[in-house]
Amino acid sequence: MIAWESKAAKPYLLMAPVVAVIAVCFLLPILNVLFLSFTEPTVSLHNYARIFSVPLYLRVLANTFKNAALVTVICLVLAYPLAYTLVRRGPVIAGILLAAVAIPFWTGFLVRTFSWLVIFGAEGPVAGVMRWAGFEPPRMLFTTFAALWGMTHILLPYMVMALYGVMKRINMQQIKAAESLGATPVIAFWRVFVPQSLPGVINGCVLVFTMCLGFYVTPVLLGTPTDMMIAQLIGQQVQELLAWGFAAALSVMLMICTFAILAIYDRFFGLQRLWG
């Protein structure tokens, strides 16, 4: 009996280090944030009430969702044809394209963000080309456009990978079969390929959207305070106003939103599918 028990306990013991790390590095800070949000500066729900009573903060929340949705849609529109090309083309072209997607993916996103600072700068190459062509370049840096551009650039590989993972499992002979049954290539694509790629679309969108919700560095560096997202607001509250309690409440809000999205996803598709 005892032997059996210890046997069953062993696998859990193996998990102990991971559990410890997660508890210390992840759960404790979260609990701390939760605690702060209800207790700082006084024990009350005041911090939460403030989010919903000040229009500015609601606007930031709405803005966050709007920007995340925009980035998600742009990523999808860009990634879908790319992933489709990856699965339809021969291994050589697919390999080159995959590398083109993956190499920036391995470059730190801070580096990639800074590179846009240079490229979009007033003296940068884009402005240079525009002047050369005879335009006065518009202001590109520190705009919503630049923030969306930067986030799209950083999150695009996630979308491509999510789509590619699902698409490469689709048997292309089905397309031939559909054509032999009277479907034009366009109809075969829409009726046979697209429906089977939907799990990848949903995965990619959830991944990009949730990552976008909490995005900090890129919108701060490339975007404008007038188009603030929630992570930026949190940073501002902490760094400039030292409003720890309110920042914590905002963080909890962000976390709840993210969890809600993942919970809905889990309810319909199963969370384990998110990781391929």
């Binding site: 048997n171 079969a177 054509e179 032999s180 049954l181 009277g182 109809i187």
Partner: protein
């Protein structure tokens, strides 16, 4: 043959521009025929089928179907059904939706789609599985869905590329019978690819033997078996004894083998394509000759080498002492068990049972 329904003329197809996957194929198929493409791996069967289906275009040559030139017609505009080896069912649609797909593409009205789909599912015995998804079916059942889907829109031709290749032996035999029944009931022209020669023999009206992108021979199964035009066909179809001949005298009815001498033969290939020529004797035409039995036209003493027991019959392989000639002799299962493991035995065959390729 009556007027050809399908006609391939000098069809050539190369994938890399150098080697020809299909190298000048001429073939006529009559309406309602069951034609099998048989040949070793890489001989061009699938490529030919894909050109019929419209997935590949010939580099040169033409394909006619029912009097129309379809050489460059896109696949979705041809009225040709295809059944793939891996079935290629649509996993996100139910069985019924899969079968209805070609009818939807043809903008058939809903009521007709309903009745035709039901009919097609009944034809393949899947009435009770209509609402399942393909992944919830066995391999054999998936194969039937693919068949129903390929037949439901009454195509001019049904092409099948090794459709039974993934099934186990029993199921395969069962599906062979089913396919023949469906062929009889529907009366559709079928072109069937396999590299299983027994499958080709049992199912086909005519068999087309492919080799290296060319057609080696076309004929009824029994013709290919009894009167192969080349050594390749003789060896590829059925079990065989093949002897290299040093000279042939058709006039006097004999041939000569370098080490075993003259052999009497009655049947000669009227238009031989190979030189040197070969004598074909099927293992079942050889008989063992107990002492005192009058020998047939040709008889030899052989030394028993191996006996292979298949259960229902046996094959004895022996060699003629002092030569490099070995012969395969088919005997009944009982006789096979009674044969000694080694030793000499007399075997022979009559002149009518040999064929000079």
């Amino acid at each position: 043959m009556t007027t050809p329904y399908i006609e391939l003329t000098n069809v050539v197809r190369s994938y890399d521009g150098r080697t020809r996957a299909v190298d000048g194929i001429n073939l006529s198929v009559a309406k309602g025929e069951f034609i099998t493409f048989l040949g070793p791996s890489g001989s061009g069967k699938t490529t030919t089928l894909m050109m019929l289906a419209g997935f590949e275009e010939p580099d040169s040559g033409g394909i006619m179907l029912a009097g129309n030139d379809i050489t460059h017609v896109r696949s979705w505009k041809r009225n040709i059904g295809v059944v793939f080896q891996n079935y290629a069912l649509f996993p996100h649609m139910t069985v019924r939706k899969n079968v209805a797909f070609p009818l939807e593409m043809r903008k058939v009205d809903a009521a007709t789609i309903g009745s035709k789909t039901t009919e097609a599912l009944a034809l393949v015995g899947l009435t009770d599985f209509a609402e399942r998804y393909p992944t919830q079916l066995s391999g054999g059942q998936q194969q039937r869905v693919a068949l129903a889907r390929g037949l439901v829109f009454e195509p001019d031709v049904l092409l099948l590329d090794e459709p039974l290749g993934a099934l186990d032996k029993n199921l395969r035999e069962h599906m062979q019978v089913e396919l023949k029944r469906i062929h009889r009931e529907v009366g559709i022209t079928m072109i069937y690819v396999t590299h299983d020669q027994s499958e080709a023999m049992t199912m086909s009206d005519r068999v087309v033997v492919f080799r290296g992108g060319k057609i080696e021979q076309v004929g009824k199964p029994i013709e290919l078996y009894d009167r192969p035009k080349t050594r390749f066909v003789a060896e590829f179809i059925g079990d065989s004894n093949i002897l290299d001949l040093s000279s042939v005298n058709q006039h006097e009815g004999w041939v000569e083998h370098q080490s075993i001498g003259r052999i009497k033969v009655q049947h000669f290939n009227p238009s031989p394509s190979t030189e040197p020529r070969y004598l074909l004797v099927r293992p079942e035409e050889l008989v063992t000759l107990p002492d005192g039995v009058e020998p047939p036209d040709n008889s030899f003493t052989i030394e028993i080498g191996t006996i292979i027991h298949y259960g229902n019959e046996s094959v004895m392989i022996g060699s003629i002492p002092g030569t490099d000639v070995s012969l395969r002799v088919r005997v009944s299962a009982r006789a096979g068990r009674d044969l000694p493991d080694r030793g000499l035995i007399r075997v022979g065959w009559s002149a009518t049972n040999g064929y000079v390729v």
